[in-house]
């Protein structure tokens, strides 16, 4: 089995895994970083969203062999104490119901704001329409993104 050295949440980790192993399962099974969620396995729901070099990526469809020198950030590494403006805005708006999709939503939103500090509705829709919320908290997600953009 091949070995990979990858940078995850600013730490170098040595991983032994098949080349086609999705990053999602490396995070969950090898590193016990379970904040990144399994939802569909085909990049259709966004529950597994992480940052690869700052861009939102669906980790369920991103093989370990493709990471190379790229830097991976998961929900656990987004901030030290949950104090990223997006996380804080999520708390302020009490976005979550069941909460299962929210790590993926937050990662997508944080990547959006890193690239577009003041997104309008169309930009939010565009960046967030890959993330499903079965509880229907989308309205609060929009409001929280706008709040985070102000801070």
């Amino acid at each position: 089995m091949p070995t990979y050295t990858v940078t995850i949440n600013r730490q170098q980790r040595n991983i032994e895994a098949d080349a086609d192993t999705p990053l999602l399962w490396v995070l969950r099974d090898e590193l016990q970083l379970v904040g990144t969620k399994f939802g569909c396995g085909i990049a259709q729901c966004g529950a597994c969203t992480v940052h690869v070099n700052g861009s939102a990526v669906r980790s369920c469809s991103f093989p370990i062999s493709a990471i190379g020198e790229s830097k991976v950030t998961t929900i656990e590494g987004l901030s030290e104490d949950g104090d990223h403006p997006v996380q804080q805005a999520w708390l302020e708006h009490d976005v979550a119901q069941c909460g299962y999709c929210q790590a993926g939503q937050i990662m997508s939103a944080a990547a959006l704001l890193a690239q577009n500090a003041n997104p309008d509705d169309a930009a939010i829709n565009n960046a967030m329409s890959g993330n499903i919320c079965r509880c229907g908290t989308y309205g609060r997600i929009k409001s929280a993104i706008k709040t985070a953009a102000k801070s």
Partner: protein, 757 residues
Amino acid sequence: MNSATGNLANKIKTSLGRRRFLQASAAAGGGLMINFSWGVAPTGAGDAAAGMVPDQPFELNAYLLIASSGEITAMVPNPEFGQNLMTSMPMILAEELDADWQSITAKQANYDARAYERQFTGGSQSIRRAWQSLRMAGASARHMLIQAAAQQWQVPASEIIAKNSTLTHTKNDKQSSYGAMAAAASQMPTPDEVSLKDKSSFELIGKSRHNQEGQKIVTGQPLFGIDYQAEGMKIAMIEHPPAFGQTVESANLDEIKKMPGIVDAFIFESISPEQQKNYFDTNAFPRLIAIVGEKTWQVMKAKKALKPQWKNLPSRTETMNAFGREVSVTTPGGLENTTDHRKKMDQALAGELNTLREDGDVISAFDSAATVIERTYRSPYLAHNTLEPMNFFAQINGDGVHVAGPLQAPVFIQDTLASRLGIAKKKIHIEFTRMGGGFGRRAYSHYLVEAAVIAKQVKAPVKLIYSREDDMTMGIYRPSYTVRIKAALDKDKKLVAYQVKGGGLSEHCVHENRFPAGAVDNYLAEAKAIDSNITTGAFRAPRSNFMASAEQSFLDELAEAAGVDPIDFRLALLDRAKNNPVGDNNDYDPARYAGVLKLVREKSGWDAMPGTTHKGVAAYFCHNSYAAQVITVKQGEGEPKVDKVYSALDCGIVVNKDSAINMVEGAVIDGIGNALFGEMTFTDGVPDKKNFDRYRIIRINEIPDNIDVHFVENSIDPTGLGEPPFPPVFPALANALYQLLGERQYLQPYAKRHQAS
């Protein structure tokens, strides 16, 4: 007012005869521990006599702990799946306790077999009773703290003020925190009776408090079953037959077992054929292939390499224990097609039906009517699609088993598991995890039994995970319904007859005593269910979730035929049901029903909307609560788009306001999504959609611009809120779409633009 005597109203007993609902004791470290019966407190003096309380000692299954540090812990015995009871339940306790909200922490309890059997005696009353028992516990703790302070300070208890976790006697300049008085309070006699606050003096209930679990959610903490870890744990997945009506015959298991990281592969039965089924044991695929391995991806790859042989099942009849009643369940053989179902439903509705309720004589009324309208409404199957797929952890410990994961109805699965493993019920330990959505699906927790059987076979702790495809194609779907309604207007355009015929696979959706029963002189409700081997079950607001669509779309069409505003048309019927009801078994309150319609009319500005606005209204009553929705739509890019939604709810007292609004917003979006896009179809028994690439779920760009939520303010004890706002969303949308498109909507999902039948 917060004094012991001020503004206090009804009293509640803490015991009945020798049976206690509450017991106080000293906690380790000098705190006050109140153990109490969750969900079985007497709701008033008369309830016990009415036989609502089981004749046996109560398990004191919940607790409230006031530590000497002042930290307060409230244990929540029910599993959380987004309804936010980890916040709202402690709010009820804190209200009666007059506690500092910042000092309260909620803790999720594990399953206690004996305790939960008690809880289910409450049935549909469980919310109300939890309300009462929480208030009882909070008020008792407060009472004991005040008594302790009175004794210590040698002052009358009536002069002590309890507020914000502090006891004060102003005259003698005495003050103590709850924490400092907790040890002394634990030595006070437990009160036989305590006074509850007058509802008008509530200071916390009705306000908004942030989700207690929020921080854990936004930082990705391991809260869910799928996150469960244990020493030596293996990963298991299952493979089920592709078609309903099939079972597993064989597979290339020897090949699979040789794959990297695979521990075992075998065929097993989650329910043995001779085992009696319980009510929530609905399961089309009791015989499955298991693959167990070290890592999830290795197991997924082995699953892809499976070459199974399937065989078709014959028709069979089994008995099921339905809440103590033995019923016979027939599962036909054969591979079913959704296209054939429609024909079968039409044949069934044309044949003999079961009469559920009959008032007057609809046949004569139709014969002599000025106008007769008949319409047929059809719904598809729906998959629940909880975002966290089905999963469970299991570990066999000697003659017992520990299981952990997401489930909604633990009491029934415990019997099934005990019988399947041949172990005693008391040897089963169930740990609740936060659920990544439920919507009814997790009431059918066959996956718990599957995990336990696999763990037993491989002699190791196992976490069973469904793939999305397993989850979607092995569903316990919302049934497919057909409803035919026929009504007559007299020459004055008054509704004189109403006949509803409901059919469904495998259940119908008629509630015969609901509106408009009681509002029409000639009324007939009939129904028939058709057997199918496609498994169906509870889905957010079972049955109501489609009957609302049929009935409220139909009433809209009747109002139009009568030339009356659709809200006025409904209000006139409710007026009739209130002032001169037909029959005496109508299970809704016409005044509260009318109340939500009037509120939504006012808040939406219904009467002042310009004629160019395409608007629809609907109202429905279910789960003891009333809901009305007004929806406006506009033409979007290619598809109609929902513009604005106005919701009016009457669920009695609202505990956590912002959380309740969140719940309603979610129900509205879920309703719009399922009404427009939700559909599962079957070809030769095979589900046609397997993942979110084809099963369309509403997304952020498809939500309304605004959802405006309003609650009727009253002092009625709280009732359900997770389900009631959902059903009327569908018909309000259908009625608005008619205004936009000029076509009535008879077939869901509406975005498919079916032709009227």
